[in-house]
């Protein structure tokens, strides 16, 4: 019994890291993943911000899940998420104003980040507080490691540094490394994410067939907007 509980908990926490990753499998939250990964530092703070909001939203919604009337379910969820995002934004502006300036609107846009609403609506509304907390942490970390990896690769190849510390000696100051300016622009994040998705789905064919399944089950109707 207890072993099963532990196994379920572990699965709730660990599955979103790779097997059900919100970015690479569900392809959610891409907007911020593209925008804030030009270097590692903003990616770290964005990850912390999203994890904080996810944990707060999942736990509060789970606590209120028997109280919230179905008719105003979504607006309650969004109100809780939006309040958490405002608090996180104010904290960033007070304590790391330089990072807040880089993240600009993308902290506010966590409100519309599909990952948060998806977890709240599909998980926290139907599960207990402990499971919801683990689910929030798991999905937050699943989002975070992709962001940090992309952020690290982009800063390393685009500026030869990590967290502002020079790692690869730059050619302009006598070293050998010629930074790739493309890495600092948004398209490079798109390429890196695509390569990541490709790699993961090659190693885990389950994910590949699942996405193909979804595609054949829901043939595109009409012209895409």
């Amino acid at each position: 019994m207890i072993q099963r509980l532990i196994a379920t908990s572990r699965n709730t926490l660990l599955a979103p890291l790779l097997d059900n990753n919100p970015i690479t499998l569900q392809v959610l939250g891409l907007c911020s993943a593209l925008a804030v990964t030009s270097s590692l530092r903003p990616a770290i703070f964005m990850s912390v911000a999203v994890i904080s909001v996810l944990v707060f939203a999942n736990v509060t919604v789970s606590l209120l899940r028997h109280v919230i009337p179905q008719s105003i379910r979504l607006i309650i969820e969004v109100t809780l998420i939006a309040s958490a995002v405002i608090v996180v934004d104010e904290v960033l502006k007070a304590f790391v104003p330089d990072v807040a300036a880089i993240l600009s609107v993308f902290v506010g846009l966590i409100i519309t980040n599909c990952i948060v609403l998806a977890r709240v609506e599909s998980f926290a509304m139907h599960h207990g507080v402990w499971a919801s907390l683990l689910d929030a942490l798991g999905n937050g970390l699943g989002y975070a490691w992709i962001l940090l990896l992309v952020g690290a690769i982009r800063e390393l190849l685009g500026a030869g540094s990590l967290l502002g510390q020079e790692i690869l000696p730059l050619a302009e100051s006598g070293g050998w490394f010629e930074p790739n300016q493309l890495m600092l622009l948004t398209p490079s994040a798109f390429f890196l994410l695509a390569l990541l998705v490709w790699t993961i789905r090659s190693l885990r064919p389950v994910q590949r067939s699942q996405s193909d399944q979804i595609r054949s089950d829901n043939p595109p109707s009409g012209a895409a907007p």
Partner: protein
């Protein structure tokens, strides 16, 4: 319809969540606002120094270094109505950002003069003098005006002739990220250096963008038209007769030490 879905219950839950969320946000802002304001005042001091070229835009400085350099400037108060220096308010305690919104310290601007969409303007504003011994090398003046979404705040520095721009720096704005906010690009701001503020007839000569055969002094920014013309308007307002114009004319005549 279950009890959970009743109208009273729905309204009750909505009200409780609303009160809880607004309390949470209010308390957070109450706690954090003083910390944010302290940072903003440092940023404002930094912008004064950047406008005068005393520090380069990307230089990393500690708060103490910024404050020390800022205190090296001679802060004076300008009475915009009389166009002269004033001792009516103390330079140390006068907070011009608070004065901007204080009905007692502002007066309405006539509609036809209000090209920067300010509505009211303060009577007193600070001027920061960069001195070398007894001679004034530059004067840094606060400027602000309505941008695309919010008020744009900055400082403009004029040379000792009080008619040529030395530099500019902006420290607060709400322009669209990635589009309107490209006016913060250091290369664009560098074009301001040496631009004429007034022509030989003492009329405001500051322009952004080419127009009707007139050569471009400072390039307009493609895609940020509203922002660039708002900046042109606010600079022209503050250099004009209703802004610092009379004061700068007085300085050109007298240049008191």
């Amino acid at each position: 319809m279950t009890e959970r879905e009743s109208v009273a219950r729905t309204l009750g839950v909505a009200a409780i969540v609303a009160v809880f969320c607004s309390l949470m946000v209010s308390l957070a802002v109450l706690w954090l606002r003083p910390i944010q304001l302290a940072y903003l005042s440092i940023e404002r001091n930094r912008a004064v120094l950047e406008a005068s070229g005393l520090i380069e835009p990307a230089t990393e400085l500690t708060e103490q270094q910024i404050v020390d350099r800022f205190l090296g400037l001679d802060t004076r108060i300008v009475d915009l109505d009389s166009g002269t220096f004033s001792d009516a308010v103390s330079t140390t305690s006068f907070d011009f950002r608070a004065a901007i919104n204080d009905p007692d310290l502002t007066r309405p601007i006539q509609d036809e003069l209000d090209i920067a969409n300010l509505g009211r303007r303060p009577v007193y504003l600070p001027a920061y003098l960069l001195r070398n011994g007894s001679t004034i090398e530059q004067i840094v003046l606060p400027i602000y005006g309505q941008g695309m979404w919010a008020t744009i705040h900055g400082f403009i520095s004029l040379r000792a002739d009080f008619a040529t721009v030395e530099g500019v720096a902006f420290y607060e704005h709400g322009e669209t990220p990635g589009i309107g906010d490209r006016f913060l690009n250091p290369e664009w701001l560098a074009q301001w250096r040496g631009q004429p503020a007034y022509d030989e007839n003492e009329r405001v000569a500051f322009r952004i963008g080419a127009d009707g055969g007139r050569p471009a002094g400072i390039d307009a920014i493609t895609g940020a038209t509203v922002t660039t013309s708002a900046i042109e308007d606010l600079v022209r307002y503050w250099l004009g007769d209703d802004g610092f114009g009379p004061f700068l004319a007085y300085m050109r005549r007298e240049a008191p030490q």
